[in-house]
Symmetry: C2
Subunit: 614 residues, 2 copies
């Protein structure tokens, strides 16, 4: 039943050898790995204007284009830097790998923490944005914002559990649609303005408040740091290299270039249109919607198409996290910094445990914030740029160390990238500190510490478990004496089954009864005698009716008498219950006993099942 539901929802299991077919082509890798970047483009222009307009009014549009140019330049630097990373790290050149390889484990873990937090926040924020779009279309759904976001997360989770091939097509189509819609809007907008000579009505509320000369550096930096959200998601491609079809690195670099071109066109296009059509951020209508309204007219079909496509791309942004977070987690798990289970692939060859963890964490955030996660948005740009910086610095160190080939050229590119992203990171951190970036700056070291502790635990366990080279010596050649303890409550078939098994072990059997009621004990003695065995029946009184405690004390006593390497074997008859409600009717003392016994080093516990009739 469970299996059937699973196979309907996520499909039948795939063989390990099928893993090559579960990879991205360039065609379907582009939308998955770019959706985060592209969707952040859709609100980056608005974020810049939110900072500028209240101070500069209509004078905002000139600095807007300047800031957009700076961000595009930063994008170019990142693209060239990451091309080099892809070349050097074919097995997933995420910031984690690059930083830990070249800057040490701690730097790697800091990068991994920053990115992980970013991925989880992206899922929460973008699905809540999608839920907000739905509730503004159907206001009666407003109280169900968090459940709607949860459903969106669940939908993405299921799609990703189906594996890369299915999910990349399922979730790639909306991204392509959004790209097409944006292209149409940008071209139409430019044509309408230049060719048809459209003159936008100036927004009534705005004047030239300040001359451009008064623009403070502080304001520009603040606007720039807000606009940098456009670049979150650019690192996705280099993190996801191993997910590409062969030739892996070539395909990845193609996709990176295409992502950059797409981001460039859409971001600069939207910023240009915002200037030309004098869009102003408002509570109830987004900048993109205003532009669409002015270009296509309110109530035109294209206006609604733009709205729907924007809402869908916001949700799709989460999908990049679903592609990269489990991948990162599997690397961490392989290195021992995360629980082992995250390193293994599920039935559909996706890293299902990582996907489910992402589902769980994002859902918790969504419900914790009642679907209002917009406040979390400024938080993760710091983390993302911290990861950028560490990755670039790592690459820079790598070239300095290797000094092979055109290392100076390469070191210059990555060094420049590191410098610029570091500066950006500081700008964002300072500007957004009070808005919540401090929270991320607390979480990153905590998460880093946690992963270090996980690694320490795994190291200790592995050291403890490992066998010295002369391993064969550990096998005991002589047979130690066997000590068997068989607790009895009453003489019945379950006991007889366990007793018969104990007899086959061929040691000395002690049948042990804890007495709480003299009448019951008398009856037991008679029944046991009737079995006609020469095993010893030991009876101990428990005046306080604490049966398990008495038995465990007895076990401990017996164990003290053992020689080194000798084990005490406890045979436990266990009732096996087939109907759930029958659990209410049986005490399960044997299970409780087992969980206490197993904590004792020199005990072997033998469970003999007795199937209870329905």
């Amino acid at each position: 039943m469970y299996k059937k539901i699973k196979s309907v929802l996520i499909g039948n299991a795939l063989k390990s050898t099928d893993s090559e077919s579960e990879k991205f082509s360039v065609l379907w890798g582009l939308p998955i790995l770019s959706s985060d970047a592209i969707s952040s483009v859709s609100y980056a222009c608005e974020e810049i204007l939110i900072v500028l307009i209240p101070v500069l009014g209509l004078a905002s549009y000139k600095p807007l284009m300047g800031i957009a140019a700076a961000i595009v330049a930063l994008l170019l630097i990142l693209v060239f830097s990451y091309r080099q990373t892809i070349d050097s790290y074919p097995n997933g050149g995420g910031s984690y790998s690059v930083a830990s390889d070249n800057l040490g484990h701690t730097a790697g873990l800091v990068a991994a923490s920053s990115l992980s937090i970013g991925y989880v926040l992206t899922v929460a924020v973008s699905t809540c944005a999608g839920a907000a779009a739905i509730t503004s279309a159907f206001p009666s759904l407003l109280p169900y914002k968090a459940p709607i976001a949860f459903v969106l997360i669940a939908f993405l989770t299921l799609g990703n559990l189906r594996g890369i091939r299915d999910s990349s097509i399922l979730f790639g189509v909306p991204t392509y649609i959004f790209m097409a819609v944006m292209a149409v809007m940008i071209v139409t907008g430019i044509v309408k303005y230049l060719v048809l000579g459209y003159v936008p009505e100036p927004a009534v509320a705005l004047e030239m408040r300040q001359s451009t000369r008064d623009i403070s550096m502080f304001l520009i930096l603040k606007a720039f740091s807000s606009g940098c959200t456009a670049l979150t998601g650019v690192e996705a491609v280099s993190n996801g290299v191993p997910n590409f079809e062969k030739p892996t690195q070539k395909n990845a670099k193609h996709v990176l270039a295409l992502v950059a071109v797409t981001v460039f066109i859409i971001f600069s296009g939207v910023c240009l249109l915002a200037s030309l059509y004098q869009a102003v951020p408002k509570e109830d209508i987004t900048v993109i919607a205003q532009i669409a309204a002015k270009i296509f007219g309110y109530d035109s079909v294209m206006f609604y198409v733009v709205q729907v496509a924007t809402a869908v791309i916001l949700v799709m942004a989460a999908n990049t996290s679903f592609a990269d977070f489990p991948q990162l987690l599997s690397l961490l798990a392989q290195d021992g910094y995360a629980a082992r289970r995250f390193a293994s692939r599920g039935a559909r060859l996706s890293y299902s445990n990582g996907i489910i963890l992402l589902f769980g964490l994002a859902s918790i955030l969504v419900f914790l914030f009642h679907g209002e996660t917009h406040a979390l948005m400024p938080l993760y740009a710091v983390g993302v740029f911290l990861a950028f910086t560490l990755s670039q610095t790592g690459m820079f160190r790598k070239w300095l160390k290797s000094r092979e080939g055109r290392w100076m050229h390469k070191a210059f590119i990555n060094g420049f990238g590191a410098l610029v992203t570091a500066v950006t990171c500081v700008i964002i951190g300072v500007n957004k500190f009070a808005e919540g970036a401090w929270l991320v700056l607390i979480c990153i070291p905590l998460l880093t510490l946690f992963m270090t502790l996980v690694k320490r635990h795994y190291n200790r366990v592995s050291a403890d478990l490992s066998i010295p080279k002369s391993g064969s010596l550990l096998i005991l050649k002589e047979q130690p004496e066997k000590h068997i303890l068989l607790p009895i409550e009453s003489v019945n078939k379950s006991f007889v089954k366990a007793f018969n098994y104990a007899l086959t072990l061929g040691g000395s059997i002690e049948v042990y009864h804890v007495s709480t009621d003299p009448a019951v004990t008398e009856k037991l003695k008679k029944q046991f005698a009737a079995l006609g065995t020469d095993a010893q029946l030991v009876i101990e009184e428990a005046p306080y009716r604490n049966v398990n405690e008495t038995l465990l004390n007895h076990v401990d006593q017996r164990m003290n008498e053992l020689k080194k390497h000798e084990m005490l074997t406890v045979v436990l008859p266990q009732f096996v219950i087939r109907r759930r409600w029958h659990y209410l009717l049986h005490n399960q003392t044997s299970l409780l006993l087992r969980s206490s016994l197993i904590k004792r080093r020199n005990v072997a516990i033998i469970s003999i099942p007795y199937i209870i009739p329905d």
Copy 2:
């Protein structure tokens, strides 16, 4: 740590042989077993007036006294009937025992269901009434009505877990205080009216609406059925007989007589005062409070004393349920109609499992109804009178069958009791049907059915487990061949420990590995060979990475090859985790595997613990 908290809260464990000291004396048995009855008296008069006043106005007080007289007569009948029950059933002559003894199991179970429902409802209703008294004194606590009721229930639960001796003194004192306060009020009230010639101001809103001649039979019956709540709790004494000190039955009969006298004095006293002082039920002030105000004056100390004492006695009513419900449940458990655990006494010799169940059920009701359980009050009178009727009818049948001694006299008393309670039960059922009695009439048969199913399950299990008279034949004399399966993930100390143990068993060992990664398997083969053992290493591929499933299939295959009575022994190395968060880091596949294996009849599972370092 857990033990320390437990001993502070409920005291140190008591020996089974101490049980004689954990019994009621007459002095402390009276308040515990009468608190339900006495507290219902405190509102029974009000319940009658609520029915009469809207129709009859000031003409209500004459029929009030008539109805009170009828209820007192019913009380007398019940007392005489129950004296006979106590004589005949020294081991707890509750309706359950009497009915199942004389009318068959089903009748007994119906009585038990009715009483159980009544007990649970009593706890929920009376603690909510207590919470309501607290919130009307401190209105800022109003939103926390349910949590306050929950705290009251928890307090009663803890007190009762401490055992009879502690709880009867702890909860007996408030009952005695209430009795004293009522006595003072009744005496003062009568003196003030008769001796000092006090004339109450007639309530303004009331007139003589109808002449007394027009009083319909229907109205009287309705008022009577409301007033019968005064009698709920009278059965408590005969249910709790085994809780009394020796001479058990004599003490129980003394207490029954005292309960009856107390109920008689307080109930008739309050009804008389209500008539003399013309109390009228109102939303914001109870009848008893009105009487107290008119006798002692508003803002007098005694007015507040009456208020507080009434609030406390309402909560104490729940305590009768805490004394009787676990007792009834233990009888049911001993007979196999409830889970066995309810038959055993806890650390303090109380039936702790029953107490905790009552705590849980009442708490659920309180939170489900947000602390507004007043609506549940009319429900349980039907159940209580159904139990009365079954018990009386049972006693009647008993005398008819035995025909010994003064059987005709005894049969007459119980027969009359049965007739009157049956009629009362029908009157209440009809009058309260729409108010919710139908719910109880659905729950009673459902609970009865459930208990029958429990009994059937226990019967089947016991038949299945029982050994034929020639029990000794079941012990196998010859040693069957031993088949040992030892799953391996990697060669480490935990495996070697398990392997060494398996070697001591002396059968053929199959070391079995499920391969999901060729590289890992190759390494394993080499390490295993290095151990220098002649045990067979079997490797099976799992192309779909479903390790446990593959292993279970292999087990099933191996089991098919077994002869009858042969067992397959599976040795499972098990990691024992000492810190909770480490659970996140280890897969516990061995536990999952164990829970699947144990469902197979011919498998013996040997768990070999390996303690993981911190």
